[in-house]
């Protein structure tokens, strides 16, 4: 060794592998405006399509007259359900086993539903055209309130389902009923409630809201008549699934369909589903023989493509006087809108809502969910959460606070008393999950110590006393949230989408000079996969992350994957990456043994290459092995150095965290101030701490928005009253609180690198922290539960209803 030999630390640092705060490589192009999004695509002769949408939320479509529209210069075609019927595409299947109108077929079922698709030479002409299409409607009575959807005399929404007493998920009880889903032991749970010393019951609503990616949903289709090939560029979170769906419904051979997701400007679940726009551009391209583009505007995005939540959760907890929980009973009324377009694994009509027992050791529980139709936009998607996990976390975290209040116990104390203990993992929950790992007590105590929880409670008590003396108009709340997520869908034994198991995949190819490419079945929408995937490979095989190019989103080159949502990329694709890398490493070891003339077992791995045990100067770097792989492999071995892995996870992963929000509210105006927000996340092994922090900041900002005002609200006639960013609360940097982040590390025992996924934790855990803070603030005035969202006027109304102005 000479002085130039790098130290082990230097070699390690050069890799920028796992644990390194590596700067995001994709940001080089994003921060210079050099990203390549769907709307950047301009193909020769490309046409543009736009929708005529329904102003009514329930109406019969009597007549569509396109005469004047077709006279608008540049307008080439007006596509209606009648046109689509000629290719059997007036309706499309949904991911949830329902069918959905692509264009209004006889009636419309929600405001802004797609009625006709105008194709023109440019977007301006298309918009002029849609304003000239005359549609004659006959308004029908509407169903907006989900609690009235199953009234005996409720209007029939889905006439196409007349006589169908069974849906994709079993029997239907009513013409507006979709499914009933039950989990758990009803008898045992009922018995627990009969015996309970203390019970609480509350209807906890999680209002309808919507993901808001910067880039809306969009798509370009180009059909090559000569080759019979269809190319689709779209904002797809799961491009391979889109390819298979298109093959199934358009009857085009799957190898002749090319789906490409270029850079995506945020997804948050919004871009998982299949929307009428995709079908319409495909048909328009097939009909015209030209490429056709469709770009959704913000109002269309908020009002027509998939919403999230709209869960109304009647929640009961049974407990002892000392606060040991003995049973949980939840009934959910799930408003799916006009069509069940829920984006869940096929067999899970309410997603993984049965994680609702949360972080607590409930001996028994029972859950039932009734899905119903209303005159609202169809959905719902998992808005930055695993399937219905944020609803479940909100439900149990709010309910635990309500129980604490009834028992006169501190909410943190109640949680500590009921946590699943570290030694209970793997833990089997009453509703059927096997939690992989956790150490809840440590995380909770770390949170409480860091923020001086006891001190905050003292301050709150003093302020409450001052309020009662009339010395202040401010009240203070502490919102504690301890969530457990279930992410990483998922094992083939219980997860599929339209029959395709929810594995994920990676293909790594190393080049002779020691650089390489990794193609992965996931699809980043801003999560930074190009950065983190290379870091996993760097640590696994000792090639610097900078020398690995990561590519996703092109179905012709990427191995089949199920896409990115539900925090599944790191748990599933991340595992596939590690496994593919390990295959490469195994072959590399054989090559190194051959070159170093030793037995394979005499080699050991050392950061970026192999060395002979006991002879540390006899080494072969991975870079040199790459070269050797292309010219001097052992006899009988195939040259080259590449591997593919398809990873079917043995279990889900269960990230968790302890959050607290400290908030003051001015009762006179309802104006709140978030004084402090602390988020401790345990996502197992941490690949890139900087990216984790960024993900937590973003998710908390969304959670803040949702809890404090972001909603899709309908008036009694079914008009969306919050359909633009003027009224749909989108906080700016000014409103957004300061975030404090922290962590503990409890690796997943079954994951190759122990990582659990973090992108969605802050949205899941953040919402209950904010809502609990508001509720905690008002609790001393006698309230038990105030529904979200907690915007200013509702806070004022809560104060007023509690007699503060009397």
């Amino acid at each position: 060794m000479n002085d130039m030999t790098p130290t082990r630390e230097q070699r390690e640092a050069k890799l920028e592998g796992m644990g390194c705060k590596r700067k995001r490589v994709e940001d080089i192009r994003f921060t210079q405006g050099k990203g390549n999004y769907v709307d950047d695509l301009k193909l020769p002769g490309m046409l543009h399509g736009d929708f005529v949408r329904s102003p009514h939320s329930h109406a019969r479509v009597k007549k569509i007259d396109d005469t004047e529209a077709l006279k608008v210069p540049g307008v080439l075609a007006v596509i209606t359900a009648e046109t689509l019927k000629t290719v059997n595409l007036a309706w499309m299947p949904t991911l949830a086993g329902d069918v959905q109108m692509v264009l209004a077929d006889g009636k419309v079922l929600f405001q802004n539903q797609e009625v006709a698709f105008v194709v023109a030479t440019d977007r301006y002409a298309a918009d002029d055209g849609i304003n000239k299409v005359v549609v004659e409607y006959e308004p029908l009575p509407v169903v907006i309130d989900p609690f009235k959807a199953m009234d005996k005399d409720a209007p029939v929404l889905r006439e196409d389902l007349a006589g169908k007493t069974t849906g994709a998920h079993g029997p239907r009880k009513h013409h507006n009923h979709i499914f009933e889903w039950t989990v758990g032991d009803k008898d045992l749970t009922d018995a627990a409630f009969r015996k309970a010393e203390v019970t609480i019951k509350e209807m906890i609503s999680y209002h309808r809201t919507h993901p808001s990616p910067l880039e809306t949903c969009q798509c370009v289709c180009s059909f090559d008549k000569i080759k019979g090939e269809l190319s689709i560029w779209g904002t797809f979170q799961a491009p391979h699934v889109i390819r298979t769906v298109v093959a199934l419904i358009a009857k085009i051979p799957e190898h002749k369909i090319h789906v490409i997701s270029p850079d995506i400007g945020g997804g948050f679940g919004n871009k998982v589903g299949a929307y009428p726009g995709y079908i319409c551009v495909a048909v328009a391209s097939i009909v015209t023989g030209k490429p056709v583009k469709w770009v959704e505007d913000r109002i269309e995005n908020l009002t027509a493509t998939s919403f999230a939540r709209d869960y109304h959760m009647t929640t009961e907890i049974a407990s002892t006087k000392e606060g040991k929980v003995t049973g949980l009973r939840v009934h959910v009324l799930a408003d799916h809108g006009a069509f069940d377009a829920c984006a869940d694994p096929s067999k899970w009509p309410a997603g993984f809502f049965n994680i609702v027992t949360g972080s607590y050791d409930f001996p028994t529980a029972h859950l039932s969910v009734d899905g119903i139709y209303t005159n609202k936009a169809p959905g719902g998607v998992a808005y930055r959460c695993s399937f219905r996990v944020t609803e479940a976390a909100y439900c149990i975290e709010r309910a635990m606070d309500i129980l604490a209040q009834k028992l006169g116990m501190d909410p943190a104390e109640l949680r500590l008393k009921n946590f699943i203990k570290a030694e209970q993992f793997p833990y089997h929950s009453a509703l059927g999950w096997e939690y992989d790992s956790g150490d809840y007590h440590t995380a909770m105590r770390k949170m409480m110590e860091t923020v001086d929880y006891a001190g905050l409670r003292k301050e709150q008590a003093a302020l409450r006393a001052a309020f009662k003396r009339g010395e202040t108009r401010e009240i203070m709340g502490l919102g504690v949230s301890f969530f457990t997520e279930i992410v990483g869908a998922g094992p083939s034994k219980n997860c599929d989408i339209l029959g395709i198991a929810m594995f994920d995949s990676c293909e790594i190819r190393l080049h002779p000079t020691g650089a390489g490419i990794a193609r992965v079945g996931s699809k980043s929408q801003g999560q930074g996969h190009e950065t983190t995937w290379a870091q996993i490979i760097a640590t696994e095989i000792g090639i610097p992350a900078d020398d690995i190019m990561v590519e996703e989103g092109n179905t012709d080159t990427a191995p089949y994957g199920l896409g990115t949502y539900g925090s599944r990329s790191t748990p599933v694709a991340g595992a596939a990456i590690a496994m593919a890398a390990r295959k490469i490493k195994a072959k590399a070891q054989m090559i190194a043994a051959y070159k170093l003339e030793v037995h394979e077992d005499d080699l050991e791995w050392d950061i970026d290459g192999f060395r002979v045990k006991g002879l540390p100067e006899k080494t072969m770097s991975m870079k040199d092995i790459c070269w050797a792989a292309y010219n001097s492999v052992p006899p009988g071995m195939e040259p080259g150095l590449e591997a593919v892995s398809y990873y079917d996870p043995p279990n889900m992963t269960y990230p968790f965290g302890a959050y607290i929000c400290v908030m003051n509210i001015d009762v006179d105006t309802g104006v709140y101030k978030v004084r402090r927000f602390y988020a401790l996340d345990d996502c197992g092994t941490r690949i890139n701490p900087m990216i984790i922090e960024g993900q937590v900041h973003g998710g908390l900002t969304e959670a803040f928005a949702i809890a404090m005002g972001q909603e899709i609200r309908y008036d009694a006639d079914g008009n969306v009253v919050t359909g633009s960013f003027m009224d749909f609360f989108m906080p700016t940097a000014v409103e957004t609180p300061h975030w404090e982040t922290d962590f503990t590390v409890t690796p997943s025992p079954h994951h190759p690198i122990g990582a659990k996924g973090v992108g969605e934790s802050p949205n899941v855990g953040g919402v209950p922290a904010f809502s609990n803070a508001v509720n905690d603030a008002f609790s001393f005035l006698g309230s038990t539960h105030i529904q979200m969202p907690h915007d200013y006027w509702r806070n004022w109304k809560a104060a007023k209803d509690l007699g503060v102005f009397a």
């Binding site: 736009d50 977007r123 301006y124 298309a126 918009d127 002029d128 304003n131 505007d297 913000r298 109002i299 006179d668 105006t669 309802g670 104006v671 005002g709 609200r713 009253v721 919050t722 003027m726 009224d727 609360f729 989108m730 906080p731 700016t732 000014v734 409103e735 915007d791 200013y792 006027w793 004022w796 109304k797």
Partner: protein, 287 residues
């Protein structure tokens, strides 16, 4: 979110602009910063066939002092108001209010003329102009006239501007030295119009209010001057009872719409609070 077709004109003098507007008729609209007009065009709530862009008219820009009056050209941007030392010295309440209008991007383009001429009850400048006793210079084919801000607003998006008329300048009498002022605005977020807002300009002597004007934003179809409320506080030291009476008098003339910012009852309630807070803060600043 795509506007309908329109023709674009860019005159370089007020006379040419007025001529264009009067010959093109009802289908022509002046275009200032475009931050109110263009969003409405994108929603096709407005579909003018002709846009007469005022950016080419040099004479419409600028801030000058004319004795005890500040004269501001209609095309002066909100950002330029903030950058002006003259405004900072003579009309600090204007800066305070402008800073509560949206964000820097909007303020770089949005003009004071467009803000006051727009007739949107959500705009912040109109109530402030009424409070300050401002007047607008309107120029049309038949000459120029001066209209007081208090006479200008007739209904939502309905003003004293006659077809073919242009608002060319705003004159604001400089408030007395040592005056107290405050603009209190409750909004849901940056970029939102007021849930309720109140402007107060007052003078005090010996701890008592001598003169007082109170303006209200977004609490009715038009901006309001709360004259009864102002009368109530004159001669008082703004003691709790007087404040309560003043806020009740102001609430009595409010008739806001119920919208996503809150129901009528809430908007009136916080309207009263904005009045109280503005009075208190203004008094604290008076010398």
């Amino acid at each position: 979110m795509i506007p309908g077709p329109f023709s674009y004109h860019r005159p370089v003098t007020v006379a040419d602009a007025v001529k264009l507007l009067s010959t093109l008729g009802d289908e022509a609209r002046p275009l200032a910063g475009g931050h109110s007009l263009v969003p409405m065009m994108k929603l096709r709530l407005a579909s003018p066939e002709h846009l007469v862009d005022l950016h080419g008219i040099a004479g419409l820009k600028g801030i000058r002092r004319d004795g005890n009056t500040i004269v501001i050209g209609a095309m002066t941007t909100q950002h330029e108001l903030l950058a002006s030392d003259e405004i900072g010295m003579s009309l600090p309440i204007l800066d305070e209010t402008v800073l509560l209008i949206a964000d820097p991007q909007v303020r770089y383009r949005g003009t004071i003329g467009g803000n006051v001429a727009n007739g949107d009850p959500g705009n912040d400048m109109p109530a402030l102009m009424m409070t300050l006793g401002a007047s607008y210079r309107l120029e049309g084919a038949s000459g120029a006239r001066e209209v007081a801000a208090t006479e200008f607003y007739q209904g939502a998006y309905f003003t004293a501007l006659e077809p073919g008329e242009l608002l060319t300048a705003i004159s604001i009498p400089v408030p007395a030295a040592g005056h107290g002022y405050a603009y209190e605005k409750l909004k849901r977020k940056v970029g939102d119009y007021a849930t309720a807002a109140a402007a107060v300009v007052l003078t005090m002597a010996g701890g008592k209010v001598v003169t007082c004007k109170i303006g209200l934003t977004n609490l009715s179809e038009t901006p309001l001057l709360a004259e009864d409320a102002a009368k109530v506080v004159i001669g008082t030291s703004l003691d709790p009872a007087s404040l309560k009476k003043a806020s009740a008098a102001a609430v009595a003339i409010m008739s806001p719409a119920s919208d996503a910012r809150g129901p009528v009852e809430y908007r009136k309630h916080v309207g009263g609070i904005m009045v109280t807070r503005a009075l208190q803060r203004a008094a604290g600043r008076a010398r």
